[in-house]
């Protein structure tokens, strides 16, 4: 229990969504273990534990710029923040706001949803199986609110109505991001010839993907084809901790051991078919998502259904934007991304994230991911300057 609590607090700090010493994470079996004692917070959270059938609770004001963005969105929303990204649509539905930090307000909201946002921008989230769920909820709120905040600013800018506080928050965020997006090309070479090498390279590139801020939390996936077996990250794995969480999927279907493979396994398999490439990386880089939401087509027949099916051919630079939901099913992105990937280095899925491919090694899709995100960031900056 102590180990689990310490692990997720450290992960929040590593992923720069929380400042060191800020998270209050409690995990409860028969007794509660807290990451730190803060009677003003833990006193209320202990009461919350008594009213919910859960095993973990997290309270934290996110690190900047997330904290300011969430506080701003909360002040300008009524009852709940309604982001349009896929993480929210699929897993969180909406982001309720509490009027105050009291047991009653927190319980009222967490009875219905996985997270609640307090007036000061703090987030409370919970888990029923592991504190990992509380971490994911927290991280997803940060991601969703970043995307919404920046998407809203793009619209504000076009309507010439951006207020000063929003401008300040946006500029601060962009200034920091421009630094962290500077990167050097990486090349280790492929193709890989042993399973150990595949595992090692997937873990290395996965870590770089997270370190570069190209994916948060337990989202994103990565795969590499060698000898008619696709090695792919497991569902719910963290790209910066892939050791022991890579599934082999034999292309002849002779084993179902890959039942725990990423929910995007079908998309990866079809991308292999349509492109003949060997390496695939999927992340949720924020500006790729933000720019995918920025559609200026008026009087569109598909309005309101952009995440399901889009009748237009949209691009950012040379990169196509397609519709599609997570996984399979009628509107699954496995039906849109593979075809759009033909002849392209990457494809952005509306409101969701970015898929990139490489011919021989995993550095190529990582470089493509970084380049395309940089392209989207530059485009955002150009549009808001």
């Amino acid at each position: 229990m102590d180990r689990l609590v310490a692990r997720y607090v450290a992960k929040m700090v590593e992923q720069r969504i929380a400042d060191d010493g800020m998270p209050v994470l409690g995990c409860r079996d028969s007794d509660i273990v807290w990451s730190r004692e803060d009677p003003k917070i833990t006193g209320i959270l202990e009461d919350v534990f008594e009213h919910l059938n859960i095993n973990s609770l997290l309270h934290c004001r996110p690190a900047e710029p997330y904290g300011s963005m969430i506080e701003y969105l909360a002040a300008h929303s009524d009852g709940a923040i309604l982001p349009q990204d896929t993480e929210t649509r699929t897993f969180l539905h909406d982001l309720p706001l509490a009027a105050s930090f009291t047991m009653e307000e927190v319980v009222h909201n967490l009875k219905r949803r996985k997270t609640v946002i307090l007036p000061g921008g703090e987030i409370i989230s919970f888990g029923t199986v592991s504190p990992q769920q509380a971490f994911i909820g927290f991280s997803s709120v940060c991601f969703a609110c970043f995307v919404k905040f920046m998407s809203d600013r793009l619209q504000d800018y076009r309507a010439a109505k951006m207020d000063d506080p929003a401008r300040r928050i946006m500029d601060d965020a962009l200034q920091k991001l421009q630094i962290s997006h500077t990167h050097e090309k990486i090349s280790h070479g492929g193709p890989y010839i042993t399973q150990d090498e595949v595992h090692r390279e997937m873990a290395r590139v996965g870590r770089l993907t997270v370190m570069n801020g190209m994916v948060d939390s337990y989202f994103g996936n990565i795969s590499y084809l060698m000898d008619d077996t696709l090695y792919i990250s497991q569902t719910g794995s963290s790209l910066d901790e892939l050791e022991g969480t890579i599934d082999p999927y034999p292309l002849d279907g002779s084993s179902c051991a890959g039942i725990t493979a990423s929910s995007e396994l079908t998309a990866h398999l079809r991308i292999l078919e349509t492109t003949g490439k060997r390496a695939i990386l999927h992340g949720h880089p924020k500006f790729s998502v933000i720019m995918s939401l920025d559609c200026r087509v008026e009087d569109c027949d598909g309005a309101g259904r952009c995440h399901l099916e889009c009748p237009k051919m949209r691009t950012i630079g040379d990169v196509p934007i397609v519709s599609g939901e997570v996984g399979t099913g009628r509107y699954g992105l496995c039906n849109t991304v593979p075809e759009a990937m033909v002849g392209n280095r990457g494809v952005i899925v509306y409101g969701h994230g970015l898929f990139t491919v490489g011919q021989t090694d995993l550095d190529e899709p990582l470089n493509n991911l970084l380049d395309i995100e940089r392209l989207c960031l530059d485009e955002f900056v150009r549009l808001t300057s």
């Binding site: 689990l4 719910g236 051991a257 039942i259």
Partner: protein, 585 residues
């Protein structure tokens, strides 16, 4: 009076004098127990002074408020009584169309009371209840009997095994769906009910159809995102045998009566082998789009994961077709495949006889006919092993044989087997979801840390699912959050995930109260000693040691505390009061 989702009507059938009447429970009772397993438990708890075979011990067939509506995967039914096999609360959730037809006949449940003096069928069509001579069906296998009952709506039928008194006999619904565990089929046989059919034409009224569509979309979106459900290797494509390879690679496949956890022939007996040999076609319950059940081209239902694993690895059998034939025989004669295979494995170990494919089929045939050695094995592994002076070699908990997940490879599963109110059951908490399938998130399968509360929460959640009566598989992707939305839309009664979870806690505690009255205590919340004394099979880079007894008991103690039980696992008056349950201690 309830108006939406629930019909507000329960049919009581009196088998002795062949009469029936409709009762209309108050709305608070529905809100207190939801329906399905919860509501059935309410009626079962009025008979705590009875043995399972007392003529006044009822059999309860209940559906939940979502059944018959467009809420996803909500077409299941609870069948409950006191278990003929174990003496515990004996409920089983079954697929098919039984619940849907019951709701369309405008009943939330059917209570079968008393006993008939000769074999009958109970035929229900809307408000009409007929008692029909069932003697022409007695010599028939289930498939043949179902052929004769075609056109009567949904049919629940016991087979020849129940007629002959097999303690782990099942109830087959709509030919392909088994209410298998706990020996519920023998309860029907004791009352001399050969079958129950039901048909109805009413629609289940929904309070807010638009909101239900929204809830449905949220659930479908999550299901589509689930690799376990709809992925390439998921159970829609491959059926539940999709789990076979996973249990093999995780060294959790019970082999040779749980003496090892690795079966070297497994890669040739997996879901792909089934697919290549039998070209399965998808089948499913009414109202489900996952369609996890598989049948061969000639109509034979193919084994589920548990059955496939136990009729191969557990018996050291490497002949796939024997597993398929064994499954078919169990279904045709009406016995639980899990209990049957574990009982055979127990026999194999105690007698020191390696069972060939022919011998497996021979003994199974003797069990369903209760002849030769089968007459003794028909009482289940626990009674048989005890009769041979080796009770520890029955791989069961509370007398219910264990499914195909070795607890040494998943410590939450170990705890959940022990605390399950119906004995050796994987579905009360199904920690395989997080310990192996990584849903909703992955947990450390070789650790008890945090598992006591996790198991308690999951038991509460699954009690709600069985009361709704929905399918547990969909909860690999969805949660009570989305189903609370659906339930509110269907019934108009505002509820939340937390409200439902509290109701689930009440339903589960209610079962602990009943079991306590029937003499169950901490001595029964335990595992066979083998799991604490013998290691499982090691993997390429990990060991599967025996469970640490002290760690297990520590986790069980924490579970008791969290569940509100005393140190001996007994319910307390205070907790019963908190949950608004009648104290019968």
């Amino acid at each position: 009076m309830v108006r939406y989702g629930w019909t507000g009507r329960i049919l009581e059938v009196y088998l002795g004098d062949r009469t029936s009447r409709v009762i209309e429970p108050p709305a608070w009772l529905y809100e207190k127990f939801i329906g399905g397993k919860g509501l059935a438990g309410h009626y079962l708890s009025q008979h705590l002074d009875m043995e399972w075979d007392d003529p006044d011990m009822p059999i309860l067939i209940f559906a939940g408020p979502l059944v018959g509506t467009r809420a996803p995967t909500s077409g299941r039914t609870t069948v409950m009584s006191r278990s003929p096999l174990t003496g515990t609360v004996g409920d089983t959730s079954v697929g098919g169309g039984l619940g849907t037809k019951m709701k369309r006949a405008r009943y939330d449940g059917i209570i079968l009371r008393g006993s008939s003096n000769k074999w009958i069928g109970v035929e229900i069509v809307d408000d009409s209840v007929a008692f029909v001579d069932a003697s022409p069906l007695l010599g028939l296998t289930n498939g043949d009997a179902m052929d004769l009952l075609a056109g009567k709506g949904s049919v629940a039928l016991i087979g020849p095994a129940a007629q002959r008194g097999v303690r782990f006999s099942s109830l087959m619904v709509d030919r392909h769906f088994a209410a298998a565990r706990n020996g519920i089929g023998l309860g029907f046989a004791k009352k001399q009910i050969k079958y129950l059919s039901i048909d109805g034409g009413a629609r289940v009224p929904v309070y807010d159809a638009r909101e239900l569509v929204r809830a449905r979309e949220d659930i479908f979106r999550l299901v589509s995102a689930s690799p376990i459900l709809l992925g390439e290797s998921g159970i829609r494509n491959m059926g539940t045998p999709a789990l076979y390879d996973l249990m093999h690679t995780r060294r959790m496949m019970p082999t040779d009566n749980f003496r090892t956890t690795f079966f070297s022939d497994a890669p040739d007996l997996n879901a792909n082998a089934v697919k290549e040999r039998y070209s399965p076609r998808k089948k499913g319950c009414t109202g489900c789009h996952i369609l996890c059940k598989k049948g061969s081209r000639d109509g034979v239902v193919l084994p589920e994961f548990e059955t496939l694993s136990h009729f191969t690895a557990l018996l050291c059998n490497n002949d796939l077709h024997t597993a398929v034939r064994a499954n078919e025989l169990c279904n045709e004669y009406g016995i639980d495949t899990i209990s049957a295979a574990v009982t055979l494995a127990c026999f194999s170990e105690i007698e020191g006889e390696r069972l060939t494919p022919d011998r497996i089929m021979e003994i199974l045939g003797q069990i369903v006919r209760r002849e030769d050695i089968g007459d003794q094995l028909a009482d289940g592994s626990a009674l048989w092993a005890a009769s041979r002076g080796k009770p520890s070699l029955s791989m069961s908990v509370k007398g219910l044989e264990l499914p195909a997940y070795d607890p040494r490879g998943a410590y939450g599963m170990a705890l959940a087997y022990a605390t399950s109110t119906r004995g050796g059951c994987h579905l009360r908490a199904y920690p395989i979801g997080h310990e192996i399938l990584r849903k909703p998130v992955a947990t450390d399968r070789f650790s008890f840390a945090g598992k006591a509360r996790t198991i308690k929460i999951a038991e509460d959640t699954n009690a709600v699912i069985d009361s709704l009566t929905a399918c547990k598989f969909v909860f690999f992707a969805s949660s009570l959050e989305e189903y609370a939305h659906a339930l509110t839309a269907v019934t108009g009664v505002e509820t939340t995930a937390t409200d439902l979870s509290k109701t689930g806690e009440r339903i589960y505690y209610h079962e602990r109260i009943m079991n306590a009255r029937w003499g169950f205590s901490s001595k029964d919340d335990d595992l066979p000693p083998r799991f604490f004394e013998e290691a499982g099979s090691s993997g390429p880079d990990f060991d599967v040691p025996p469970l640490n007894r002290d760690d297990f008991l520590g986790a069980r103690g924490r579970y008791y505390k969290i569940r509100g039980l005393d140190a001996d696992g007994a319910p307390t008056r205070d907790k019963a009061k908190e949950l608004d349950l009648k104290w019968t201690g």
